[in-house]
C-alpha cells in the first residue's frame, strides 16, 4: 500500500475493524450476506464495474465484451473459453469438497493472484477492502449463496517432504494408470487421452484436459495446488474430485509426484 497517506491508512484500519465486527455479526446470524450490508455491496459494485465487467459482464454471466471475442486454440483445435459465470455459483478453485461453495478466502486468493493462462489478471494492486467488497458483490449474482449452508469441511494440503522423489513418482505413476487419469490427460500427460476430445463443461462448451508437458496450471503450479485440484475437483469441468477414490493421503501425494514428473519439474 505504498503511496497511501497516514490518514488513509487509519481509515482503512478503522474500516477493517468495522468489517470484522460486521463479519462476526453475520456469522452469528447465519443470515444472507446481502441485504444487510448494502454499503459493501455498493462498494463492490463500483470495483466490479471498474475491473471485472469487461469479461464477466454486467449480469455476472461471463458474457462481457472480452468473453465474446476471446478465442483459445490448442493442439490445432479452436474453441471458446468464457470467463466465469457467477450466476450459477459454481467455482473451480475451492478449498471445499466438490459440490460446495468456495470460502471467501478461496475467492480472495483467485482475485488476488489472478489465473495464469487465462485473461484473469492479478489484483494485487487493489486494496484488501476493495477485493473483499467485490467478493460481496459477486455473491449477489447467484442464489446459491443465500439458499445453501456453507460446507464445514475445508481441505488443507500439507506436503510431505518426500514428494517428487523417484520412489514416490513410481508409485504415483501406478495411481495415474489405476485412476484412469490417462483417459483424458493421455499417457504422457499431453492432454490427448482417448476421451480428451469429447469433454464439455457444465455450460456445454468444449474443453480440453490440461497438457502437463507445457504451460502452467490455472490454479497455480505448486505441488499443493495440484493436490487441491485432485481432492476438490474442478467443479463445472470434467475434472472430478478424487477425495473418495484415493482415500490414502500418501497415495494422493504420490500422484502429485508423478504429475510433477509429467511437468518435467522432477526427474
Amino acid at each position: 500500500m505504498e503511496g497511501f497517506s497516514l490518514k488513509t491508512k487509519g481509515a482503512v484500519i478503522l474500516f477493517f475493524l468495522v468489517l470484522l465486527v460486521f463479519a462476526l455479526a453475520t456469522l452469528h446470524t447465519s443470515d444472507s450476506v446481502y441485504g444487510k450490508d448494502s454499503a459493501i455491496i455498493e462498494k463492490g459494485k463500483k470495483v466490479y464495474k471498474k475491473y471485472c465487467i469487461i469479461c464477466h459482464g454486467e449480469k455476472g454471466d461471463g458474457k462481457g465484451l472480452i468473453g465474446i471475442i476471446h478465442r483459445v486454440e490448442k493442439s490445432g483445435l479452436v474453441w471458446y473459453v468464457y470467463p466465469r459465470d457467477f450466476t450459477v455459483g459454481v467455482f473451480k478453485f475451492r478449498s471445499t469438497p466438490t459440490g460446495c461453495l468456495p470460502t471467501d478466502d478461496d475467492l480472495l486468493r483467485t482475485i488476488t493472484n489472478g489465473i495464469p493462462r487465462s485473461g484473469m489478471p492479478s489484483h494485487k494492486d487493489l486494496s484488501l477492502e476493495e477485493r473483499k467488497a467485490v467478493i460481496a458483490y459477486i455473491k449477489t449474482f447467484s442464489k446459491r449463496w443465500v439458499e445453501e449452508e456453507p460446507c464445514d469441511e475445508v481441505i488443507e494440503a500439507k506436503m510431505p517432504k518426500w514428494v517428487g522423489t523417484p520412489e514416490s513418482v513410481k508409485k504415483g505413476e501406478k495411481i495415474y494408470v489405476k485412476m484412469k487419469c490417462w483417459e483424458c490427460h493421455g499417457y504422457e500427460g499431453k492432454g490427448d487421452g482417448p476421451k480428451s476430445d469429447k469433454l464439455k463443461d457444465d455450460w456445454g462448451d468444449k474443453i480440453l484436459p490440461f497438457d502437463f508437458t507445457t504451460g502452467t496450471l490455472k490454479r497455480g503450479s505448486s505441488p499443493e495446488n495440484i493436490y487441491m485440484t485432485y481432492i476438490t475437483g474442478l467443479d463445472g469441468t470434467g475434472m472430478p474430485s478424487y477425495e473418495d477414490s484415493i482415500p490414502n493421503e500418501e497415495d494422493r501425494w504420490h500422484l502429485v509426484s508423478y504429475t510433477l514428473k509429467l511437468m518435467k519439474r522432477v526427474k
Binding site: E2, G3, Y51, L65, I66, I69, H70, R71, V72, E73, K74, S75, G76, L77, V78, N113, G114, P116, R117, S118, G119, M120, P121, S122, H123, K124, D125, G186, D192, G193, P194, S196, D197, T213, T214, G215, T216, L217, G220, S221, M263, K264, R265
Partner: protein, 615 residues
C-alpha cells in the same frame, strides 16, 4: 487420441478456417513422398517458382545476413522472406540486445558480420537440430536452436581475426565444427607480444575446432597461411581450408605474389593424437597445436597446391571430390579425396591428389552441385553461373591439353545480374542434393529493381536447375548483405520447429504475479494474456533498480505479446509460453504506460498497465 484421428479431425476443422490456415496446418503433416511426387509431375527444366496464396514453400532457405549480423529464413522457391533471426545484431522489434537473456549472450557486442550458415548433420544430411553461423567482425560463432529458431549460444574465439569459413562435421554426426581465420595475426595478439606487431612473418592463421554440443573451443591448428573458406568431408576424417595468403602479405600486391596457394587438409585422427600426446600450447585459454610447415609434428596438415588465390572449397554430394574455385585463376581444381589418404601416407605427392583443373571463366568463386554429377560454379567477373560435368573434366584432364581446350565439361553458361558471390543448390551440401533449385547470391543489382537510392539491394536470383540448361526464373532483392545460404527440404526442418516455448525451460518463468522489493531492488514478476498483463499497476520510487520478468501464458499459436515501457527505451516480444526479462533504473518520476507492441487481440490497444515512479 491417435495421430491419424487427430489429423483427420484437424483437417475437418481446417476446412472451415480458410485457405491460409489450411496451408499452415496441412503442411505440417505433408510427408516427403507427397512433396516429392508433386514436384516430379513438373517436366524437367520447367519448375514453377510460384507459390500461390495459402501454399507453402518446399524448402527452408537459411540465409546469412552479412554485416546486418542476422540470419534470414527465405522460402524457396517463392523467395519470400519469412523470418529473421537476430544473432550478432540488435533487433529492437523482438528485443534482441534489450532483454537480459540476449545481453547475456551478446556480452556488449551489437555488431556482427555473418557469412556462412550451416546446419547440424547426421550421416551426411541435415538433422534439423541446430544452425551455426560465424561472425567475421568480432570472431564469434553462434548456435541457433531450430526448434525455437533462436540463438542459444555464442562463442568468442580467441587468437583469430577474420573468422570466415565455417563448416560442421558431416559424419557420423556434428560433434565438431571448424572455423577458419582469414586474417593472420600475432599469437597472442596483445601487449605481451608487441614485438611481433611490426613483423608480418610472425602473423599466423588458425583452423579452430569447436565442440558443437558444448560450444567450446577444442583446439586450434596454427599455420603460417591464412584460412579462408572451409569444408568437411563425408567420412568424418578431414576438414579443409583454402588459403590465398600463403605469402603472409599485408598488402594486396604481397598477397597476390605467388602463383600457387593451397588447399590445406586437416587430418582429424592426427589432431586427436596430438591432443592426447599433449603436443600443444595454451594461448588465451585454448590449446594451440603447431601445424606450420616443418613444425607439424603429427603430420596433421596436407598442403595441396592450387592456382593463385583460390576461394571456395565445396565437396561433391557423393563425397568423392573437393572442388576449389580459382578466383584469380579462371579454373576450378578438382581434388580426389580418395587419394588424400595416400598423400598422407607419403605414397603420392599432395599435388597428385588433383584429378582435373578445368577452365570455368573469369573469377570462379564457389561451386555447388545438382546431385547428378554436375557442378555449378559462380563466376564473379563474368557474372555467370557455369554448369559443368565433373567426370568429363576429369576425362579431358587425362586426355591432355588438346582435349581440355575444347572444354567438353561445360554444359551451360547463364548470365546473372550481377557479380555473383556464393551460389547454392537445394540440399547441395548434403548427400541428398536434389538438383532442383539454385540461388545465385549476386552482390550487385544495379538496374534490376526500382531505384531506392545510392545504397542498392543485393540480387538473389533463383535458377531452375532441374533440366539440362540453367533457367533464371526470379529476382529477389535482399538488404545488405547475404553471403551464403543453405536450402533445406521442408520435411527435415518443419517437424522440429515448435509453436510454443517449453515454459519451464526458463528458470524465471512467472506463474504468479507479484512485486518483490529489497531496498531499492525491485523485481516485477508479471504474466501476459491478451489483452491483459497480470498486473495493472506497479508503484516504484525514483532510483529503483527494476527487473521486469514477463511470461506469455497465451497458448494460441502466433499470439505473441509485446512489452514496451514508454520513455524508458525498452521493448521486447514474448512468444507463446516464452519468458524474457529486462533490468533498468527508474530514474524518471512520472506515470509510464507499459503497453503491448505486438498486435495480440481485438483489444490490443487496451492491453497496457502503469508504472508509477514516485519522486
Amino acid at each position: 487420441m491417435s495421430r491419424k484421428k487427430f489429423n483427420k479431425q484437424r483437417r475437418k476443422l481446417l476446412k472451415i478456417l480458410g485457405a491460409a490456415s489450411v496451408a499452415t496446418g496441412a503442411g505440417v503433416m505433408m510427408p516427403k513422398e507427397v512433396l516429392l511426387a508433386r514436384a516430379e509431375k513438373k517436366p524437367k527444366g520447367k519448375l514453377s517458382y510460384e507459390v500461390k496464396p495459402g501454399e507453402l514453400d518446399e524448402y527452408y532457405g537459411f540465409w546469412s545476413g552479412g554485416h546486418s549480423g542476422e540470419i534470414r529464413i527465405i522460402g524457396v522457391p517463392s523467395m519470400r522472406e519469412i523470418h529473421r533471426i537476430p544473432v550478432f545484431n540488435m533487433d529492437v522489434g523482438s528485443g534482441w540486445g534489450i532483454t537480459n537473456e540476449s545481453k547475456k549472450l551478446l556480452r556488449g557486442k551489437y555488431a556482427g558480420d555473418t557469412h556462412h550458415v550451416h546446419g547440424s548433420y547426421v550421416n551426411g544430411t541435415y538433422d534439423g537440430k541446430w544452425l551455426f553461423v560465424n561472425d567475421k567482425l568480432n570472431n564469434r560463432v553462434a548456435r541457433i536452436r531450430i526448434d525455437y529458431m533462436e540463438v542459444d549460444a555464442i562463442l568468442d574465439i580467441p587468437n583469430i581475426q577474420g573468422a570466415h569459413g565455417l563448416f560442421p562435421q558431416r559424419y557420423p554426426r556434428t560433434e565438431w565444427l571448424v572455423q577458419n581465420a582469414e586474417f593472420q595475426i600475432p599469437v597472442p595478439n596483445n601487449e605481451s607480444n608487441a614485438k611481433a606487431f611490426n613483423e608480418p612473418q610472425k602473423y599466423y592463421g588458425m583452423h579452430t575446432i569447436i565442440d558443437a554440443e558444448r560450444m567450446a573451443v577444442v583446439c586450434q591448428i596454427m599455420l603460417d597461411e591464412n584460412c579462408d573458406l572451409a569444408a568437411t568431408d563425408y567420412k568424418g576424417k578431414y576438414s579443409m581450408c583454402t588459403s590465398y595468403n600463403t605469402e603472409k602479405g599485408v598488402t594486396i600486391s604481397e598477397m597476390l605474389a605467388a602463383d600457387h596457394d593451397y588447399l590445406i587438409v586437416f587430418n582429424w585422427e592426427r589432431i586427436r593424437k596430438a591432443l592426447r600426446a599433449g603436443d600443444y600450447k595454451i594461448v588465451n585459454g585454448v590449446k594451440v597445436i603447431d601445424g606450420r610447415k616443418g613444425h607439424d609434428k603429427h603430420g596433421i596438415t596436407l598442403r595441396i597446391p592450387v592456382p593463385k588465390n583460390p576461394h571456395g572449397v565445396n565437396i561433391s554430394p557423393d563425397g568423392r571430390y573437393a572442388v576449389c574455385s580459382g578466383k584469380v585463376s579462371p579454373t576450378c581444381t578438382v581434388v580426389d579425396l580418395e587419394l588424400v589418404d595416400k598423400a598422407y601416407a607419403g605414397k603420392i605427392k599432395p599435388e597428385e591428389c588433383i584429378v582435373a583443373q578445368p577452365y570455368i571463366g573469369l573469377g570462379p568463386l564457389h561451386t555447388t552441385f545438382d546431385g547428378r554429377g554436375n557442378a555449378i560454379t559462380s563466376v564473379f567477373i563474368d557474372s555467370t553461373n557455369v554448369k559443368w560435368n565433373i567426370q568429363k573434366a576429369i576425362e579431358a584432364e587425362k586426355q591432355g591439353e588438346e582435349a581440355k581446350k575444347k572444354n567438353p565439361h561445360i554444359i551451360d553458361v547463364l548470365d546473372i545480374h550481377y557479380q555473383v558471390g556464393h551460389i547454392m543448390a537445394s540440399m547441395a551440401e548434403t548427400k541428398e542434393a536434389d538438383g532442383k533449385w539454385l540461388v545465385s547470391l549476386n552482390k550487385v543489382s544495379k538496374d534490376r529493381f526500382i531505384n531506392v537510392g545510392p545504397l542498392k539491394p543485393e540480387n538473389d536470383q533463383l535458377v531452375d536447375i532441374s533440366g539440362e540448361k540453367l533457367r533464371l526464373v526470379h529476382d529477389g532483392p535482399a538488404y545488405i548483405e547475404p553471403h551464403d545460404c543453405i536450402i533445406v527440404r521442408r520435411d527435415i526442418i518443419e517437424p522440429k520447429v515448435k509453436h510454443r516455448y517449453d515454459m519451464f525451460e526458463h528458470p524465471l518463468a512467472v506463474t504468479e504475479n507479484k512485486v518483490e522489493r529489497k531496498g531499492n531492488k525491485v523485481i516485477i514478476r508479471m504474466t501476459a494474456n491478451a489483452p491483459v498483463y497480470g498486473l495493472q499497476e506497479v508503484k516504484l520510487k525514483k532510483g529503483d533498480r527494476v527487473t521486469l520478468i514477463l511470461t506469455n501464458h497465451d497458448e494460441i499459436i502466433d499470439l505473441s505479446n509485446g512489452c514496451a515501457i514508454s520513455n524508458y527505451n525498452i521493448n521486447f516480444v514474448v512468444a507463446p509460453f516464452q519468458t524474457k526479462s529486462v533490468t533498468f533504473t527508474a530514474d524518471k518520476p512520472g506515470v509510464f504506460w507499459v503497453y503491448c507492441t505486438n498486435f495480440c487481440h481485438a483489444l490490443h490497444l487496451e492491453m497496457r498497465m502503469r508504472l508509477i515512479v514516485e519522486p
